[in-house]
């Protein structure tokens, strides 16, 4: 691994960070003692002003980005909300996102609670809101970028390569990966990227989101909320994920392995500027197997 390989990144994984993994000793198939590196998993409770929203299970890095991105991707923070502060408390395992006044979400919740007793189950039902009338930009995506991204990302030192059992998502511009987040929690990796974008005021317009996970409805909706027109993955699709991508005009590319991929929505953005026959296959070492449950 040359130094250059991580120089692309604004944020790259830090597989050697002591807080994120732990050595655990057990036994292998022969009964011999075996010590392996295992990823951490911690609860983090996210508050929006005075309202407790959810407890996420996370590896624990970038809690502020996770909280901000989660709330944004759930449609609980609208574009005109002013964020006054994001306070993380390590001991209490909480993050409080404070806005200037009550959010639209809190007002809605109050009404719901008044009319139906409690709105426990409906909290997560509003994700599709705010996607009506969304127009994602008609940027072009060169397939050479996709191949280059997959190759770079697979070889980037990561918690996945170090300890496995983790999910990765990468915000990219053309053939350059910018922010690579990993997490044990299902969608935390993508929420951390959303939080970073919100904090830094970065637009999704000219970006590509690459993920190791499946292209489910939730993943597609999050990508749309982030305003990113292209979502690419090593993994497969769900039918509803494809339906939503077609509805909102998002390009989804799945099953990216070596030369191969499948595009099930937004094909018109693709520019096939490279002959797949000239793309290298993945070497064995960097193939992911059953990685990201």
């Amino acid at each position: 691994m040359s130094r250059d390989d991580t120089d692309h990144y604004l944020i790259a994984p830090d597989p050697k960070a002591g807080r994120l993994t732990r050595s655990v000793t057990g036994f292998d198939e022969t009964g011999a003692e075996q010590t392996i590196s295992v990823v951490e998993e911690r609860p983090l409770t996210i508050f929006l002003n005075g309202q407790e929203i959810v407890t996420a299970m996370t590896i624990g890095d970038y809690p502020e980005y996770l909280a901000l991105g989660f709330l944004k991707n759930q449609g609980m923070l609208s574009d005109d909300e002013t964020i006054k502060g994001v306070d993380y408390d390590d001991d209490l395992e909480t993050v409080v996102v404070r806005t200037d006044g009550e959010t639209v979400y809190e007002e809605k919740l109050k009404k719901k609670t008044r009319t139906s007793g409690c709105a426990v189950g409906t909290v997560f039902g509003d994700m599709m809101e705010g996607l009506d009338g969304l127009t994602l930009p008609q940027t072009s995506v060169r397939t050479s970028w996709l191949y280059a991204l997959a190759a770079t990302i697979n070889k980037t030192p990561s918690l996945y390569l170090e300890a496995g059992a983790i999910h990765g998502t990468v915000l990219c511009h053309q053939d350059r990966p910018l922010v690579y987040m990993e997490d044990v929690g299902r969608h935390n990796a993508v929420d951390k990227i959303a939080g970073w974008m919100l904090s830094e005021g970065v637009s999704g317009d000219d970006k590509i989101l690459y993920t190791t996970g499946r292209l489910t409805s939730e993943m597609v909706i999050k990508c749309a909320h982030m305003g990113i027109p292209v979502l690419a993955s090593r993994s497969g699709f769900t039918a509803w994920g494809v339906d939503i991508a077609r509805e909102v005009g998002l390009t989804v590319i799945g099953r990216m392995r070596g030369q191969r991929f499948t595009c099930l929505a937004g094909e018109e953005r693709l520019v096939r500027d490279v002959d797949p026959a000239h793309v290298a296959s993945e070497d064995r070492k960097h193939r992911r197997k059953g990685a990201d449950a």
Copy 2:
């Protein structure tokens, strides 16, 4: 595939069931049209009596088992609760689980709502409840069973082999797989098994739970709630999952690939009755790669 291979099962996957997958047409890397089989994903809202609990994203088979198992594994149904009925409505995409009187969970929720306005975020915080003082039986597990299970399960016709992008969990007795559930939603497969066990009055005492997914805290807690002393997986561990397994006395075996595995808790249940050197490696076709995000 000989008929015998699925004869083991009480419930096996039904990859040809029309409702569970859909053919979707897109384009491959060369720009040629390509039609692939993609798993369905539908919302299912679960009610406990009059209380809306959660909307799960599911492939849609066995909704009654999913609802029952979810509530049971969340600790929302105690052992002495009498289930009066489970009503699934296909059009409304809802399942209502009805009990004889108000459940302990509903009473607690009412109190919480009264004292703190609304209990939105805390609903899922009670999963560890009911695990205090749990004693899982000190059964033996032969490693020959584990190898036989992995080999049988990997070759069983499944939605995974048909369409990919899906998660599988199998309830097993010794070397025999009994109930094989798959789902697109993270923990729905294991909840459907819990629902089946509850409906059929099946004990977890002498069972093994095999999963394609990672051994996270949530997975370990669910397995303990089901009273199953052994949890085995192709995938890796999280540190907290291992901690909880050690606390409740659960055996967790991960990274099962061909001859190899790692046991990080409950090693004392393992009986190594077969030489790993004599176990066949997995053939390429049945290896899972990045399957279960």
